[in-house]
Symmetry: C2
Subunit: 555 residues, 2 copies
């Protein structure tokens, strides 16, 4: 009999109360397994930051207990931070073929491919990892080869949906394994962890196959080139573009680094079915008539360096938008990207393209389950406890309420947060504490070296710019030897503000004289005097508060 | 007979190819009138900018010819830049009562109220302004008292819709004057200028009155406080909150500077019907039971300093969110605001409030005409030429296509841009040139003193921060007297990067030695040497490119 006191610990290290960097820790006795290890993108306050990854402090501290990483699918918010973890905690990584195929590219970039231990699994596989047995269950999502997990240990069985939707007519004909969810429900599930992304949407998500029909409609009778932008990782979407191209006798060229990568990995592994002779090199598009060309590219989110963005400002090296080009943006802007996507569309129209986007046609469907799908999974799995995951706080709340509306007692639902330890067994569940959790900022080569102070300075500099005051003082007598000189950046354009800067110099001179009169020699006091008088003067003159940096040199 | 060669010039000075700062110039012979004078809000690349206003160069140059400003309604994107114009070009301003009432507040803040000449008009009024006769026509919109214009001169009649929707059941029972649009169509219209905001939406906009029904439903049976956030200027929406409050026996407190302003102006002028004893001071809410309170506030867009935002982070001085409060956000996030609104909702949920927002209930309707409404207006007015306005480029394109689908020849539709001169009479229309147009940035007290160089610097500083290198050189011998010192802000947190900065100093020292060896004394050359060597060193070490400012002092 299991030790009554030892329970399963479930600790989300990211993805709760936020969008992105999904990662969950499962800890039983001495063993830890990690499910997913994603990144998120910086928000607008994180000036200059490239990526955000989870805080791995707890995992690094307990690295000897970590048995494995298990991946549900190959999206960035589930695998993107893995290279950073593997550098510190090198353990076997389990995932389906496409997931690991996409991960390989990433590990190669970080120089980690040779040292990594990647283990391919298939749906229905069961793998023992220390005190855990993990079963992989086929689901559907906006990337192929995604799985849910059943995670078993002595005292509990957890179903973790990963990201999923219920698509009865998926492109690869691999329907989500509802039978297995039903069986697990019969066997008895302690805890359900489920995707909350679309919990605010009533009804059902639309099948991916509807987008294919839209492509067939849009391609029909078109004489011009067709350019389709979508998420590189959406292999099913890419397949449907190819299907429509083949149907209408067009060749397909692929553009954009990540799109080229994914198409290469996915077709190598058999996830894309591309008839011989369909794919052409993007350098060869000039050899064909416009009516014979489809170009698949990246940039559906208006990302500045992506294929479509470059085309929209005529800066793409290989593809120039010409009058009449049909451009299809097969995506919905992710919250925060609305304006950049709109800008790309406007630019493309200005270049004479005919742009079809989500407001005008059914060119995109979501990859996440809506309310009715969630109800189905809850009902099949009939867990004792529920931990909504993968969503902002309000979505977790709505998801908990959905579970309660299906009959689960409120105290069995846990609207939790990143870092909180949920201890469970068949009888009970309880938040018992917290581990260090949060975000680690990646800026260039630096991981975690940009913190709040640096970000606060960047914000301040971005708002009102900078004034530097340099003065050289005599070491012994404290008198001014050179300066004060004033240099400004991002404050006002100096040629138009000559007088203001000259007046500012007088203000500094006055402050320095006063210091000398009072025989103040303490540098920090002199600096404060300069800063205070200048701040007041500039605010009165401009209602702006630039960063003021007094620098004293001593000779 | 009119001089055959003299045509009407229609020049949009803002609002085309962008959202906001709507303003159109009408010029015939020696006379100019201006329709609307709005501002827009800075985009994310405009670091530190408060407001964006139109470029008034042309109007200032021709100030003696300007007869008047005519306002269609009181939204910021139609009146917000007027104080800046009136400072330069003080002419009579025509508008309906509420529009001018809201403008008065604004002029007061700028100290312009006494010097301004405001002239109240009513729908159906006709006013002669130089060579123009302007007629005001009632429309409907998300602010009360909005009008369209018929602008007549010897050679042309223009219908300008302003912002409008067709609401058959408006709150104030003042239905859009479709009869007048029909009559004008019969009389013969040269040019239609129309609102393109919702041209991408099929069907009809929903009546404002549906929101009132939602309020009645949501208020029913609620025991807690109710807090409704909406646009201050949406007087009809505010009226409906008050109606629901009165129905359920609740008092109404108003919070948020602009909401207090608008409620005061609108009720003074009779645009709000508030039963005696309904309004209470926000300081008195503690005197009533929670079930007796409705609070109307600002912040439906998540604006950082607004009422609801402050409540959501427990920083509101008078209102503290408590468990069970019902918060209704009666608005849709304007593109770009999605993330901040989501954050406010998440925070409110965390404080225990029950938040109802647009994804969950019909708590908002648009104030702009959708496709079927636009078709109706085009059909009634049956203009010879069409200039789509008030929209980004893609919307103007869609709107031109809508007109073409209704039978207008393509060459009669003008997808134009800010600054382009459209010359028209009954026979012909043609873009004949451009006037200076664009955006003037307002930052604090500065109007137009922040330009591209300042913004570029702010952006650079925000991305990777700043490194300042100070060195004091001997005037005669060029040798180093003090320094080099290195100061960084927004680059890396210095306590964690001590070595990096020390190494950077060595790099600078090496650069200085080399300069001295080569007997280089030109400051600019020495600065370049410092900058180049340091840039390369820091990029290799961090993959970041901070702004590098070498400063040389001479003694």
């Amino acid at each position: 009999m299991a030790n009554q006191k030892e329970k399963l610990k479930v600790i989300p290290l990211g993805g709760l109360g936020e969008i992105g960097k999904n990662i969950t820790i499962f800890e039983y006795k001495n063993d830890i397994i990690i499910v997913d290890c994603g990144l998120s993108f910086p928000d607008e306050e994180m000036y200059g930051i490239d990526l955000v990854i989870p805080d791995f402090t707890y995992l690094i501290k307990n690295k000897n207990r970590v048995k494995s990483v298990v991946l549900t699918h190959g999206h960035e918010d589930h695998i993107g931070a893995l290279p950073y973890l593997l550098k510190e905690v090198n353990v076997p990584v389990y995932g389906t073929r496409l997931t690991l195929g996409l991960l390989e590219n990433k590990l190669k970039e970080h120089g980690l491919l040779r040292s990594s231990d990647l283990r391919i699994v298939k749906p229905k596989d069961e793998v023992q990892m220390g005190g855990f047995k993990v079963e992989f269950i086929r689901t559907g999502h906006s990337i192929a080869d995604s799985v849910a997990l059943a995670i078993k240990c002595e005292v509990a069985t957890v179903v973790h949906t990963g990201d999923f939707k219920i698509d009865y007519t998926p492109i690869d004909e691999q329907v989500i394994d509802l039978h297995r969810f039903a069986e697990l429900g019969q066997e008895g599930i302690t805890l359900l962890i489920a995707d909350s992304t679309n919990v605010e949407r009533p009804g059902y998500s639309v099948s991916e196959s509807t987008v294919g029909r839209t492509f067939f409609d849009l391609f029909q009778g078109v004489d011009s080139r067709i350019i389709v932008a979508t998420f590189a990782s959406n292999v099913h979407r890419v397949q449907q573009v190819i299907n429509a191209a083949v149907h209408y006798g067009r060749k397909v060229a692929v553009s954009g680094r990540s799109m080229v990568n994914v198409v290469s990995v996915a077709s190598e592994l058999g996830y894309l079915n591309i008839p011989e002779g369909t794919l052409i090199d993007v350098n060869d598009i000039g050899k064909y008539a416009e009516s014979e060309i489809v170009i698949i590219t990246t940039g559906s989110q208006g990302e500045p360096m992506s294929g479509l963005s470059r085309m929209s400002i005529s800066e793409h090296r290989k593809i120039e938008i010409s009058k009449g080009d049909l451009v299809i943006i097969s995506a919905t802007p992710i919250p925060g990207n609305e304006k950049t996507v709109a800008q790309v569309i406007n630019q493309l129209f200005k270049l004479g393209a005919n742009v079809v986007y989500e407001k005008l046609a059914e060119v995109h469907v979501s990859g996440h389950a809506c309310q009715e799908e969630l109800k189905l999974i809850h009902t099949l799995v009939k867990p004792k406890f529920f931990l909504p995951a993968h969503g902002e706080f309000r979505m977790l709340m709505q998801h908990a309420m959905l579970a309660q509306n299906l009959g689960m007692p409120k105290e069995n639902t846990f609207v939790s947060e990143t870092g909180a330890i949920l201890e469970i067994d068949h009888e009970s569940a309880k938040i018992t504490g917290r581990i260090p959790a949060g975000q680690t900022l990646v800026d260039g080569l630096g991981v975690g070296d940009v913190g709040n102070i640096v970000l606060r300075d960047r914000k301040h500099l971005s708002q009102d710019g900078l004034i530097i005051v340099v003065v050289t003082l005599n070491k012994d007598k404290g008198g001014v030897v050179a300066g004060p000189d004033i240099i400004s950046r991002g404050f006002v354009y100096v040629r138009e503000s000559g007088d203001l800067i000259e007046e500012a110099k007088s203000v500094v001179k006055d402050a320095l004289s006063k210091c000398q009169e009072k025989q103040i020699t303490e540098w920090s006091t002199i600096k404060s005097a300069i800063r205070d008088s200048l701040r007041q003067f500039l605010y009165e003159q401009t209602k702006r508060k630039p960063m003021i940096l007094p620098i004293i040199m001593e000779v």
